[in-house]
């Protein structure tokens, strides 16, 4: 028993969560194409209205109104139940078995899925009555070029008294739409249509410009109206006297659809101009400046304006290349539409602020543009006149303050140098950095570096060094010194001999005397000429420092030369 109590208690606590449920329903599952269906989503025990994504409904149905919201609260046996209802009015778009797909409904953080609902739609059974009230979409032409204006007018024809609910406009896919006329209150006038008198009113008028794409269909407009019902039976009743009808009129809601219309897009004729940017219509272009002359570094407004009728806003004005001496700022663009016209008419303008940076005369070249004229079905080209403005020199100090350095100001007044016309050799782009010439120079340098040892090793000939050359030349040099020398002949002879020995034997010391000579030349000691040389040196020494040998003073030079020549032959061996 205790267990059951606990179970009931816990169920009671869980109750609000368990009870939360979402259902979708319609008021009828069988209807005709003109019937209005009420679609409801009920969330029970929800603390707030659910969020519903209704996009998927619009595949088969169009939503006429909604959602309207309603909250119900009930107190039954001490328990409160509440339900929140969202209601839409929808009409089918076509006949057949249509379905409202499963919708995703969010209540707080919980997500629910509704069940799909099937609705059988049959053709209207009130065809005859349709002639009393209908809407039409009228277009002024059904074959157009891309960018050419089509004027679309939705009109309502009626024979009965109605009131029109506010309506939503369809999406004009594939078109650029520019609203022309939308009345706050539809006014009616009498017309005769195929012999029948109607009252007709314009609901909406729009200028449509086809854009590139494959779908160009004038969409259908859906309108909800309330038709005043005729009371067929009238009882003479004190409470329901016809007198009160004027106060309590009975109305029937009726949904009207205009038929869809398709447009044919014509191709532009051939030879499309290169500067065609999409302008279609009739235009004229004009350029003007706000002043006739200007001082350097002052501002000037240059306005280019395009007037005419056509798809203005679907193309841009041509870019202008201003001369270099003018500094141009990005333009401010403007578009004014003429009202009270059936066609889109107006003026597009671009305003440039120009600041001349150099004195002189400057000419802004003509601005050209091409457009297609659908009336004459031909390409047209328009252009502005060239504008020439004299620019007066200003004070230089002004120019200095405009961010230019003095050098740059100097340069602004100068022109580039002329082209070079003489022929220069051509070079391949990205040719290798090292040319064969340079490589050969490097090769030769390396060869020269290694030439001496190479030559030696190849020819088996020891390359003479500088000292070798010196040794070889030593005899010649000694003879020359002896012959050309002046002063004491003994002195001369001694020094010549020592110098010769020093060079020839490549001795390191400079201070030689007979004993040292004997030591250095020990391997030649047994040679007669050598002994003779030593004897000769001793004689010279004696001659230098004493009276001995004075008799040989005249011949000592020649003797020395002879001895040296003989000695050289010995050493050379």
């Amino acid at each position: 028993m205790k267990f059951y109590n606990q179970l009931i208690l816990s169920l009671a606590i869980l109750n609000p969560i368990l009870a939360l449920q979402v259902t979708a329903s319609v008021d009828r599952d069988h209807c005709s194409i003109d019937d209005l269906i009420t679609f409801k989503i009920v969330a029970e025990d929800a603390s707030s209205f659910p969020k519903v994504d209704t996009k998927s409904i619009s595949r088969d149905f169009s939503i006429i109104s909604g959602p309207s919201q309603q909250t119900n609260m009930q107190w039954v046996n001490g328990a409160i139940t509440n339900s929140r209802t969202m209601t839409w009015s929808i009409v089918p778009k076509r006949e057949g078995l249509l379905s409202i797909p499963s919708l995703t409904v969010k209540v707080k953080r919980k997500t629910f899925k509704t069940k799909p609902i099937k609705i059988q739609v049959v053709s209207s059974n009130r065809k005859t009555k349709d002639l009393d009230l209908f809407i039409l979409a009228e277009i002024d032409k059904d074959q157009v070029y891309l960018g050419e204006q089509v004027t679309l007018t939705y009109k309502i024809f009626k024979k009965v008294n109605i009131s029109i609910d506010p309506f939503e406009l369809p999406d004009f896919d594939g078109f650029w739409a520019e609203e022309l006329y939308r009345p706050r209150q539809v006014s009616f006038k009498n017309v005769s249509r195929s012999g029948v008198r109607y009252q007709v009113g314009t609901l909406y008028q729009v200028a449509l410009f086809p854009m590139p794409g494959d779908k160009h269909v004038i969409p259908s407009l859906t309108l909800k109206t309330k038709v005043v019902a005729n009371r067929s039976k009238r009882r003479r009743d004190p409470f329901f006297d016809p007198f009160f009808d004027s106060f309590f009129t009975e109305t029937v809601t009726k949904v009207l659809n205009s038929p869809e219309k398709s447009l044919t897009i014509k191709d532009f004729p051939e030879s499309r101009p290169y500067d065609f940017t999409g302008a279609v219509g009739q235009f004229s272009i004009d350029a003007s400046t706000d002043r006739d002359s200007i001082v350097v570094n002052e501002g000037l407004t240059y306005t280019i304006s395009l007037k005419g009728t056509g798809n203005m806003g679907l193309f841009t004005l041509p870019d202008i290349k201003f001369p270099n001496q003018l500094e141009a700022f990005s333009p401010t663009e403007n578009f004014t539409k003429d009202v009270f016209r059936d066609a889109l008419t107006g003026t597009m303008s671009s305003e440039y602020i120009l600041i001349p940076r150099m004195a002189g005369s400057v000419s802004i070249p003509p601005v050209k543009m091409s457009y297609f004229d659908p009336q004459s079905e031909s390409w047209k080209r328009i252009q502005t006149d060239a504008v020439t403005i004299p620019i007066l020199a200003g004070e230089e100090t002004l120019a200095m303050g405009s961010g230019f350095s003095k050098r740059e100001i100097e340069l602004l007044g100068r022109d580039i140098r002329y082209i070079h016309t003489e022929k220069m050799p051509w070079k391949r782009i990205n040719a290798p950095t090292l040319s064969p010439w340079i490589l050969s120079i490097y090769g030769m340098s390396v060869l020269l570096f290694f030439a001496p040892p190479l030559v030696g090793s190849l020819l088996g000939y020891r390359v003479r060094t500088a000292s070798d050359r010196k040794a070889k030349d030593s005899l010649k040099k000694a003879c020359r010194d002896l012959r050309s020398g002046t002063g004491d002949p003994f002195d001369l002879a001694t020094s010549a001999v020592y110098k010769y020995l020093h060079d020839r034997l490549q001795l390191s010391t400079d201070n030689l005397d007979p004993n040292m000579v004997k030591e250095f030349l020990s391997k030649y000691l047994d040679n007669n000429d050598f002994i003779f040389l030593l004897d000769h040196l001793n004689t010279c020494d004696a001659g230098r420092f004493g009276p001995e040998g004075l008799d040989r003073e005249s011949t000592i030079i020649d003797e020395t030369i002879i001895i040296l020549k003989k000695l050289d032959k010995v050493i050379g061996k």
């Binding site: 340069l411 082209i419 051509w426 391949r428 090292l434 120079i441 490097y442 020269l448 500088a466 050359r469």
Partner: protein
């Protein structure tokens, strides 16, 4: 072999063709048909041939057709080939004075400036040519010394001076070579180019706008986009058709 013969025959024909194009281009320029001149000069570039005069004339044609960015590009290309051409320098300076974005950098330290002037005054080829000639002179003096044909102390000093200068010049050439290899530069050729934070439109923000004639360093690139670095260090992505690589 067949191709060799064809190339042998074609060689002079192509050269003649290019000379003719150059002549036509010059003639068009003289007659004031600058677009035509540009067309002819660009055709020569398409044939993979260049020289400093071509870039100079191309730059002049672009300048006359008010395409300052492209003119600056052409002059810069010309200066690379012929760095001591006064005419190109003069015209580049005039073209640079017409651009909108002017960045003035502080003067560098005078030694650095001297070095840069020296480096920019010669092409790599010229540096290598001078270096190799010095090396050759040095090698021949050295050989003479080795053979003992000359043995003056002055010659020895000369050789050491030559060794040092040859090394310096080769060093500069190497530095210039690696600098040109590693840094890619480009010139913006359109006005109001928007630099994005990433290589696609969409959610990327426009970081800054630059105008034609601005010299930029190029970093990484992706299909149709390239990352640029301005001199002041700003980086951003632009589409490749708004700039021309140097």
């Amino acid at each position: 072999m067949k191709y060799c013969i064809i190339i042998l025959f074609l060689g002079p024909i192509i050269a003649q063709d290019i000379d003719l194009l150059f002549e036509y281009g010059n003639q068009s320029f003289i007659n004031g048909r600058f677009d035509d001149a540009i067309d002819k000069y660009e055709k020569i570039l398409e044939q993979d041939q260049e020289n400093a005069d071509l870039y100079y004339n191309l730059g002049n044609s672009y300048f006359r057709s008010h395409e300052i960015g492209k003119a600056i590009w052409a002059y810069n290309k010309g200066i690379k080939l012929s760095p001591r051409d006064n005419d190109i320098h003069q015209n580049l300076e005039i073209a640079n004075s017409r651009i909108i974005d002017r960045l003035v950098l502080p003067e560098p330290f005078f030694l650095l400036r001297l070095y840069r002037d020296l480096k920019n005054n010669f092409t790599i080829q010229e540096f290598i040519m001078i270096g190799s000639l010095l090396l050759f002179l040095e090698a021949s003096l050295f050989m003479n010394l080795q053979f003992g044909w000359i043995g003056n102390i002055m010659i020895r000093k000369c050789i050491s001076i030559l060794v040092i200068s040859a090394m310096l010049i080769h060093g500069i050439a190497l530095e210039k070579f690696f600098q040109e290899k590693n840094t890619r530069q480009g010139i913006i050729i359109e006005n109001g180019v928007e630099a994005y934070s990433g290589p696609f439109y969409g959610e990327n923000t426009v970081l800054f706008r630059i105008n034609e004639g601005t010299l930029v360093d190029l970093d990484q690139s992706q299909e149709g986009w390239v990352e640029i670095i301005l001199i002041d260090g700003k980086t951003g992505w632009i589409t490749t058709n708004t700039m021309r690589a140097l």
